[in-house]
C-alpha cells in the first residue's frame, strides 16, 4: 500500500516536472512554479538572497516532514530521484534485479555537503548548483529531453497535418549552446551510470540535499525497521534496497540513507520489514560516523575556501559584455550570477525562445548563466514569464507593468546600414516592430525614416530581430546595471480637447 502510493505519486510528480520543462500550455507554467518552489536548494538560495519568508516555510516543511516520516522528499518530490527511479525501473526490466548493501560513505557526504553549503554562504551558489539535484534535472530536461521531445512533436504534427488533423502545432527549439548540451549529456551519463550500478548512489554519496536530509532522518520518528525475531535471513530486502542501506546479517536499516521507497516492505516474505513509528529502544549505530563526517566536512570546507579565493579574483570575461543582455529584473551580472543556479527553467519556459544558457564565452563565472539572444525572436512586451518561474528569484517575480519599465538594453541605429537612410526607400520593419515607439518614423518626401529615442527603449530586441539587413542596421546593446524606461506619454488632456470625435456616420469620401 505504501509502496503503491509512493509509485503513483512519484510517477505523477515526474510527469508534472516534465510538463513544466516542456512548458505544455498554461498548466506547464503553474505546475512548474509550484513544484520548483518546493525544492530545498532553490528555496535556500531564494531565502539567502531575498530574505522573504515563503522559502523558510518550504525549508522547514521539508525538514519537518523528514523528521516525521524519513526521506519521503527523496522518494516523491526530488526530480532527480524520480529520474533515477525510472532508470532503476528500466534496469529491473532488463533483468538486473539486485543491489547490495554498502557501507555508508560519511566522509564523502561530509565533503560535498559542507563544501557546497560553505561555498554558498561565503561566495556564490556555483558549487552547490553543480550538485543540486533539481538543477541537474533541469539541465538534463532543458538541454537534452526538451529538444528530443520537440523533434518528436514536430514530426507528429507534420504527419498529422497531412491527414488534415491540426491538433498539434509545430514548436521552435530552445537555443541550446553546445556546452550546455555536453553538460546535460555528462550529467545524464553520470546519473545513468550511478543508478544503473548502485541504485540511489548519487543520493547517498554526493547529493548535499540527500546528506542534509539524511542527517535529519537519523532521528526520524517513522522509519523502516526489520524485526530480527521475524527475520528469516533470506536477504531479499538487502538485495532489493536501492539505497544499499539494509545490512542483512544484523537487520539494521540505515535511516540516514533510506529513501523511503518501501520496496523492502513488499518483498519481505515474512512481514518482518515494517514502516512505523520507531520504538525508543532502536538506536542508530553508524560506524565511525562522527570522525569520518567531521574529516569530510573539513575537506569540504577547504574546497569551499579554495573556490572562494579563486572566485574573488574571477571576473566575467570582459569581451562582448555589450552583448550580455540579461532577463528583465536580473539587474546586473554580479547579482544575477550570485542567485542563479543554472536550472534552465527560464530557458524552457520562454515563449519566444530567446533565453539561452552560456557556454564558456563569458568565462567560468558565466557558465550556465542565462542571457537573451535576439536572433529568432525578441522579448515580448506582454510577457513576464521568466520571472514568474525562476525558483531562486535570480529573475525576480515582477508584475507586467514593472517589467515593461525595465530597460535591459538600448537600441542603436546604424544609418549607414539602414536601407531607408541610405537609399531613400520605405522599409519600416523596425518602426513596425517596436512596442514602445522608441523607434519612430519621421516622414520626409513620403518616406518614413526611422529614428530612435532611448528614454522609451526597453531593449526588447524586436527591431533587431526583424531588421532585414546583414549586418543588422539596428541593434540592442546591454546596459549594466539594467535601467528604467519611460512609458510612452499618455495623451494629455489638452490634446484630447482639441481632437473632436468625428461624427459616427459621414459621407463616404469616394
Amino acid at each position: 500500500m505504501l509502496r503503491g502510493g509512493r509509485i503513483v505519486l512519484a510517477v505523477a510528480v515526474l510527469f508534472l516536472f516534465l510538463i513544466a520543462f516542456l512548458s505544455l500550455g498554461k498548466a506547464g507554467r503553474s505546475v512548474g512554479q509550484i513544484l520548483v518552489s518546493a525544492q530545498l536548494v532553490p528555496a535556500t538560495v531564494r531565502w539567502l538572497k531575498s530574505g522573504s519568508w515563503q522559502p523558510i516555510a518550504v525549508i522547514l516543511g521539508i525538514l519537518g516532514c523528514t523528521l516525521l516520516f524519513g526521506r519521503i522528499y527523496c522518494a516523491i518530490l526530488c526530480p532527480l530521484g524520480l529520474l533515477q527511479d525510472a532508470i532503476i525501473f528500466l534496469r529491473r526490466r532488463v533483468g538486473f534485479r539486485s543491489f547490495y548493501y554498502s557501507k555508508p560513505a560519511w566522509a564523502w557526504r561530509g565533503v560535498f555537503l559542507t563544501g557546497a553549503l560553505l561555498a554558498m554562504l561565503l561566495s556564490s551558489v556555483w558549487l552547490i548548483s553543480l550538485l543540486d539535484p533539481y538543477s541537474i534535472f533541469g539541465r538534463i530536461a532543458t538541454s537534452l529531453i526538451k529538444p528530443v521531445a520537440i523533434f518528436a512533436q514536430n514530426s507528429a504534427s507534420r504527419f498529422l497535418s497531412r491527414l488534415e488533423i491540426h491538433w498539434l502545432w509545430p514548436k521552435t527549439y530552445p537555443p541550446v549552446a553546445s556546452a550546455m548540451l555536453w553538460i546535460a549529456v555528462f550529467y545524464s551519463a553520470v546519473i545513468i551510470l550511478l543508478s544503473g550500478c548502485g541504485g540511489r548512489l548519487y543520493c547517498n554519496l554526493v547529493c548535499p540535499v540527500g546528506t542534509l536530509l539524511g542527517l535529519v532522518s537519523r532521528f526520524s520518528i517513522c522509519r523502516v525497521t526489520i524485526s530480527s525475531d521475524r527475520c528469516v535471513r533470506c536477504g531479499k530486502c538487502a538485495r532489493i534496497c536501492r539505497a544499499g542501506c539494509i545490512e542483512p546479517s544484523t537487520c539494521a536499516v540505515d535511516a540516514s540513507r533510506c529513501v523511503a521507497c518501501f520496496d523492502c516492505l513488499v518483498i519481505c516474505p515474512v512481514g518482518a520489514a515494517v514502516y512505523k513509528p520507531a520504538a525508543k529502544s532502536v538506536k542508530e549505530r553508524p560506524v565511525n560516523f562522527s570522525r569520518r563526517f567531521v574529516l569530510g566536512a573539513a575537506g569540504g570546507a577547504a574546497v569551499a575556501l579554495l573556490v572562494d579565493s579563486v572566485e574573488a579574483k574571477r571576473q566575467v570575461a570582459s569581451k562582448n559584455l555589450s552583448e550580455l543582455i540579461l532577463p528583465p529584473g536580473a539587474w546586473d551580472v554580479e547579482r544575477f550570477s550570485a542567485a542563479c543556479i543554472g536550472c534552465g527553467l527560464c530557458v524552457a519556459q520562454c515563449p519566444e525562445r530567446i533565453i539561452r544558457q552560456n557556454g564558456l564565452e563569458y568565462g567560468w563565472q558565466g557558465l550556465m548563466l542565462p542571457r537573451l539572444e535576439f536572433r529568432v525572436g525578441h522579448c515580448a512586451y506582454e510577457c513576464h514569464r521568466c520571472g514568474q518561474v525562476c525558483p531562486t528569484g535570480a529573475i525576480p517575480r515582477l508584475t507586467l507593468n514593472e517589467k515593461q519599465t525595465i530597460q535591459i538594453g538600448r537600441v542603436r541605429l546604424y544609418r549607414r546600414r539602414c536601407i531607408v537612410h541610405r537609399e531613400h526607400k520605405d522599409c519600416g520593419a523596425c518602426i513596425e516592430a517596436c512596442p514602445t515607439h522608441a523607434v519612430y518614423p519621421v516622414k520626409r518626401n513620403n518616406i518614413h525614416y526611422p529614428y530612435t529615442r532611448l528614454a522609451l527603449c526597453v531593449g526588447c530586441g524586436a527591431c533587431q530581430a526583424i531588421c532585414p539587413m546583414t549586418p543588422k542596421a539596428i541593434m540592442v546593446f546591454a546596459v549594466a546595471p539594467q535601467g528604467r524606461a519611460q512609458k510612452p506619454p499618455a495623451v494629455s488632456p489638452a490634446e484630447k480637447a482639441t481632437v473632436s470625435p468625428p461624427p459616427t456616420v459621414q459621407e463616404f469620401p469616394f
Binding site: 502545432w169 525572436g377 536601407i419 520605405d426 519600416g428 520593419a429 512596442p435 514602445t436 515607439h437 526583424i466
Partner: protein
C-alpha cells in the same frame, strides 16, 4: 390510405420537421437568399465595389456581400477556400491591430453556405502564433464557424514560386495552401503604418509569403505590388470597423483608434485599397504600392470609373 402511403407521409413529415428545425438554428435562416446571378445580370447590375457603414462587422458584411451579388459570385460548390485575415500581432480586438474576429467568423459562415468544401484560416504572424491566434479572438471565431485553423509559421509549409513579369520580386516562397486553394479571400484591417504609411489589402498579402525581409530590404512598395502578379485574391474585404489613425500598425494608443464601423468589399484589390486610402483621408497616389499596382495594370485606382454601391445601415 395503405401502409406504404402512410410511411411515405410519415417520412415526409419527419423530413419537414428536421429540416425546419435545422434551418431555424442556422443564423442565416432569416436572410432571404439571393438567387445566383446570371451572367447578364452580372454585366448589368452588380457593383465593382461595395462600401457599407454604420453597423456591426457581421451586419456590415451581410449587407456588402448581398449588394455584391452573393457569396456565390466568389465561392462555388465544392471549392477550397483560404480566408487570410490579419492575425499578425499579439493584441486584443480592441487594439485594432488584427482583423475583427466577428467579421472573420461571418465570412467563413458565408463560404460554407455558398457550398465550400473546406475553409482554411491562416496568417504568417509577426508575433508568437499561438498568442496571436488566441488573443485576437480569431481562432475562436473561426473554429466556431467550423473553419480549419492552421498556423503558418513553419518554413516547411512554404513552396517557392516564380512570379511572372516581376522586376524585383521574381520568386518567393508562398504558403502551400494559398498556392493550391481555389478561392483566396483577403481580409485586412485598415491601419496607419509607421513604416509604410498605410496597411491595406495588398500589404496584407505579405502574410502568405515566408521571406518578408526580402520585401523590406529590396523595395517594399514594388514587392507588395508585384506579388499580386502571382495571384490576385478572389475577394478583398477591408475591415474598417476600427481604423487605426496613427501610431500603427500594432501599438496605437486608444485615442488613435477611430470607431468607423465600415467595410469595403471588392474583387479589384487596387480599387479596394484606393477606396480605403480615401476613407483614411489620404490620396491613393501617395501610397506607392497602390500607384505602382495601378500602373502595371493589376487594378484601377480611378474610383470614378467604377460602379460603386454605398450603403449606410
Amino acid at each position: 390510405m395503405d401502409r406504404r402511403e402512410f410511411y411515405r407521409r410519415c417520412m415526409g413529415f419527419a423530413a419537414g420537421l428536421v429540416s425546419g428545425r435545422w434551418l431555424s438554428k442556422t443564423a442565416l435562416a432569416d436572410q432571404p437568399q439571393p438567387a445566383p446571378p446570371t451572367s447578364m445580370e452580372m454585366a448589368a447590375k452588380l457593383p465593382d465595389l461595395v462600401a457599407v457603414q454604420n453597423g456591426e462587422p457581421d451586419a456590415l458584411f451581410d449587407a456588402a456581400i448581398k449588394a455584391f451579388g452573393g457569396m456565390e459570385r466568389v465561392v462555388k460548390k465544392g471549392q477550397t477556400v483560404v480566408v487570410k485575415p490579419n492575425i499578425g500581432w499579439d493584441r486584443p480586438p480592441e487594439a485594432g491591430a488584427n482583423t475583427n474576429p466577428i467579421l472573420v467568423g461571418r465570412i467563413v459562415e458565408h463560404c460554407y453556405r455558398a457550398g465550400a468544401a473546406k475553409v482554411y484560416v491562416l496568417d504568417h504572424t509577426c508575433h508568437e502564433p499561438e498568442k496571436c491566434y488566441r488573443n485576437s479572438g480569431i481562432r475562436q471565431a473561426a473554429l466556431a464557424a467550423k473553419a480549419v485553423v492552421v498556423f503558418a509559421n513553419d518554413e516547411k509549409d512554404y513552396v517557392e514560386v516564380d512570379i511572372p513579369k516581376a522586376k524585383i520580386l521574381t520568386k518567393t516562397k508562398v504558403h502551400q495552401l494559398v498556392k493550391d486553394c481555389d478561392v483566396l479571400i483577403n481580409v485586412p484591417v485598415l491601419k496607419h503604418h509607421g513604416g509604410a504609411g498605410l496597411t491595406l489589402a495588398m500589404k496584407n498579402l505579405m502574410g502568405v509569403v515566408w521571406d518578408r525581409g526580402f520585401y523590406h530590404r529590396s523595395d517594399l512598395h514594388q514587392c507588395i505590388a508585384e506579388f499580386c502578379r502571382y495571384r490576385l485574391p478572389n475577394l478583398n474585404v477591408i475591415d474598417a470597423y476600427r481604423m487605426t489613425m496613427a501610431n500603427g500598425p500594432q501599438r496605437a494608443r486608444p485615442e488613435d483608434i477611430q470607431l468607423r464601423k465600415s467595410l469595403i468589399l471588392s474583387q479589384d484589390i487596387v480599387a479596394a485599397d484606393a477606396a480605403a486610402a480615401k476613407l483614411f483621408g489620404t490620396e491613393p497616389e501617395k501610397i506607392a504600392h497602390i500607384r505602382i499596382a495601378h500602373q502595371i495594370g493589376l487594378g484601377t485606382m480611378e474610383l470614378d470609373k467604377l460602379n460603386i454601391q454605398r450603403i449606410t445601415l
